[in-house]
């Protein structure tokens, strides 16, 4: 669980197949700006015929060279940024 303001770092894509973690946001540091709640984990849902456990979903903000990008990322894409 992350709270608003938490510094997080994105992981690399876990495996081949569907993901909602865009390539350009892999291994990037950002900040949680909104907690969206629990949603079916899209990567597993795509791989498992629609069945998948839920995960927390967060809006994470990244500095991107002179502007900012916000993306909605599942808990398992994120780790604490140390």
């Amino acid at each position: 669980m992350f709270e608003i303001g938490a510094r997080v770092r994105t992981r690399e894509k876990r495996r081949d197949g569907h993901t909602r973690l865009p390539k350009y946001l892999e291994r990037r540091s950002g900040c949680v700006v909104r907690v969206l709640g629990c949603f079916r984990f899209a990567d597993d849902a795509a791989a498992g015929g629609g069945k998948a456990p839920e995960q927390m979903l967060y809006t994470v903000e990244f500095e991107q060279g002179g502007h900012r990008v916000c993306a909605d990322l599942f808990e398992s894409y994120l780790e604490v940024d140390t």
Binding site: R20, L21, P22, Y24, L25, R34, L36, G37, F39, A42, L57, T59, E61, Q64, G65, G66, H67, R68, V69, C70, A71, D72, L73, F74
Partner: protein, 199 residues
């Protein structure tokens, strides 16, 4: 050019697969092409950009509504009788342009878009060029839309990667104090709600 050819090939492949799926559903007696058409038509007849224009005009004239819209857009939009039920469980979020921040919407992974509020998306929104460049060089993209954002104004790009759909709340234009809500709604454009126009 090669991306364009690729788009055609993949859309031909998708439409073949959709036809096969519909045929299978019909054989099983689960639906018919006519029922499907009726369902799509009924959704699209309500999914119009005028919905978005009304939401913006209300937010410009009612500060409490605006606050509710920014806090919980699904609930605020339903107050105006706009039906998002076809759309569940998607979460709607409205992001506000201010004198310090300009917001812009994209879906880099595919083409997620708040159809219920804005109608079907324009073709440029789905193009590979917009999807790639909106996150890497938004200022240059905006200049091509003849929108010049000053360097001291921050640009925030919202990449609709998962369960939320985004709409921009543009700044109310100056010298519009005497205007009614419906006059204000007529000033708003679809691109203004995506962030590729100022209003």
């Amino acid at each position: 050019m090669s991306a364009h050819v690729h788009d055609h090939e993949s859309s031909a492949r998708i439409s073949q697969r959709v036809k096969a799926l519909i045929a299978k559903l019909e054989t099983q007696g689960l639906t018919s092409e006519r029922d499907l058409d009726a369902s799509v038509e009924s959704f699209l007849s309500k999914a119009r950009p005028e919905n978005g224009y009304r939401v913006v005009a209300r937010a410009w004239t009612d500060p409490q509504f605006k606050q509710r819209l920014l806090d919980d857009a699904n609930a605020a939009v339903e107050e105006l009788g706009i039906d998002l039920s076809h759309w569940a469980p998607v979460r709607l979020r409205v992001v506000e342009n201010t004198s310090e921040i300009h917001n812009m919407i994209v879906c880099t992974l595919c083409s997620c878009y708040p159809i219920a509020l804005l109608g079907p998306s324009p073709s440029w929104y789905k193009s590979e060029a917009y999807r790639a460049r909106a996150v890497s060089e938004p200022r240059a993209v905006l200049r091509e839309f003849v929108v010049d954002i000053p360097q001291d104004k921050r640009i925030v790009v919202w990449d609709s990667t998962a369960e939320a759909r985004y709409m921009v709340l543009p700044q109310r234009p100056p010298d519009t104090q005497g205007m009614t809500e419906s006059e204000l709604a007529s000033l708003v454009t679809r691109n203004g709600l995506i962030g590729t126009a100022l209003v």
